[in-house]
């Protein structure tokens, strides 16, 4: 494991263990629900499944949905959550 990966892993584990991950992910989830993102993705996935007519597995579906799902996240939501993560990092890392 490279040094960078080790640091990443350490931060991630701290984020989860400290309970900060739960708080931030809850806020993100609510934002995504409020702005209709969950419903949009459900629609995209349903349409994809219909047009594939059963010839699609989970891996393929995920692969095609993921970039679109990320793109559909409103930039305000992205920025707001990134700020929260930044604030957490500034607090934690000296």
């Amino acid at each position: 494991m490279s040094d960078l990966e080790a640091i990443k892993a350490q931060i991630q584990n701290h984020l989860v263990d400290s309970g900060n991950y739960d708080v931030i992910s809850k806020q993100l989830k609510l934002k995504l629900y409020e702005c209709g993102w969950f419903d949009q993705i459900t629609q995209v996935a349903t349409n994809e499944l219909k047009s594939a007519g059963g010839n699609v597995n989970f891996d393929m579906l995920l692969k095609s949905l993921k970039p679109r799902a990320e793109e559909l996240v409103p930039s305000e939501v992205k920025e707001e959550i990134l700020q929260k993560i930044r604030a957490y990092l500034d607090d934690t890392i000296q």
């Binding site: 991630q12 584990n13 263990d17 609510l30 629900y33 409020e34 209709g36 419903d39 989970f58 891996d59």
Partner: protein, 543 residues
Amino acid sequence: MLPATSESAAVANQLPNLQQHTPPPDNYGQIKPCSHLRSVLETKAYQTVLNTYQQAVAISIAINPLLSSHLVYQLKKDGLKVSHSRLDEFKAKALRCSLCDTSNFYLVFVCLQCPHVGCYKKHGMQHAKESGHMFAIDSHNGLLFCFSCGNYTNHSDLNRIRLSCVAACLGSPNGKTGITFGNGTENDTSFDVDSNIDGYTRPLGSAIQGLKGIVNMGSTCFMSCILQTMLHNPLVRYQFFNNDLHFFNCPSQPHYNGADEMIDENSACITCLIDSAFKDFYTTPTAEGYGLTNLLTTAWYKNRLLAGFQEQDAHEFWQFLLNEFHSDHERVAELADILLLPCRCIMHSIFLGELESSIACNSCGNVTKTVDPLVDLPLEINHLNENPSLYDCLDQFTHNELLDVNYRCSLCGKESKAHKSLRIKKLSPVLSIQLKRFKHNMLLDKASKIETKVDIPLFLNLTKYASDWDETTAPDAIDTNKVYELFAMVHHQGLVNTGHYVALVKNSSGQWFKFDDSVVSYASQEEVKSTNAYLLFYISHTI
């Protein structure tokens, strides 16, 4: 808001009772076993697979945010309760990718054949390839993943284990049920719907969505739009599809069920009428609009004001329906001699919450609290800032306001100024909100309409409007049980007395539909967001 009724004091806990019978929120039971899983389960390994699966599912439940708050763990050796922080430690240890040493935010694959745990991103798959262990349990949803197929797989025996684990953790006497699960163990909810049941014919696929318009019979759109919000309310629909009490005991049934259409003073019954509307909407495959003749006749016998040929307020019609549901329920339950308290009618079990008002005496600081039944939230849209959202309306509704009149405190006995604030004490499964767009000027005897655009969130977080909200220690906390999903909206267009009502309704897969009298069409999320709402219907949606 309706005035307090005699039953209101006893309104509590009818929801769990409703939820017990509703099917599980997932349809994973419909996932069929893949050929790989089937062949494994045919070998001697069967029991081992089941045992391992059960253990892995127990772990996946412990990290499920919807379930974990209901769980209490005890140590095996001395029965001591395990604290939440201890539990978090255990979880972090148990669910850590063996290769990159992170918990990957609890998103890992737990191998079915060995103690390996691998992250979603990379190492779960890598382990399957290298070791040939092709099955792993997804820690997020407790489902089995087959790496050979690149797909989730399931089996009725595995599904039963999964559901019974969930049911067990919710079944404890002090476990508050926030979500719905079937009993899952004995009566497998995924029963074979294709098999023949006596006297039952499956409605056509096109009918079961209930997408049907309602013919306008001259200014009847105020009824049609409300009817659509009822017919597509999942909880109301569930009650009507299971309403044996009314079906078998109401003497008006034959008159509404095709035998004759003799509706008169004595036989008029709104519940029977809505019951037949449900049948019509969800079983007839034609796109032909639904006729309102019987509703008009019935409503006329019940309330002569409603069935004139004049445009009426949709909100008043909605209240009328709820009151009728309640009185029909009382009447029929009494006939059947099973009048139960708290009342199980649609109004009480689905729409009724509680509103707490607190008055704080400015002189001694004593707070007097009173609780009133809450059937819907009437929100003012005057005096708001520019581009207001529904949250601004709710802030205004709950804000601490100085009372105009002096208040005599029951504690210090002094008459002084006082502050009043409102909070929701008990949230109902469906929350109805009315934006007060219509104003009546008493002096001029003239009605006017406020067209202010209010931004409507598609999901509504009500955490800080509840009476148990902790303003000082956790102002930003989100109570995931207090999040509501917008599923229906009534819009009024045009002038006060000559306008037109349209309903927008969302189906279970997130698609919106517009119901404009007899015309039903697709509606986009943007269209919903840009519609000037009058009535809003939110349903509880734990996130």
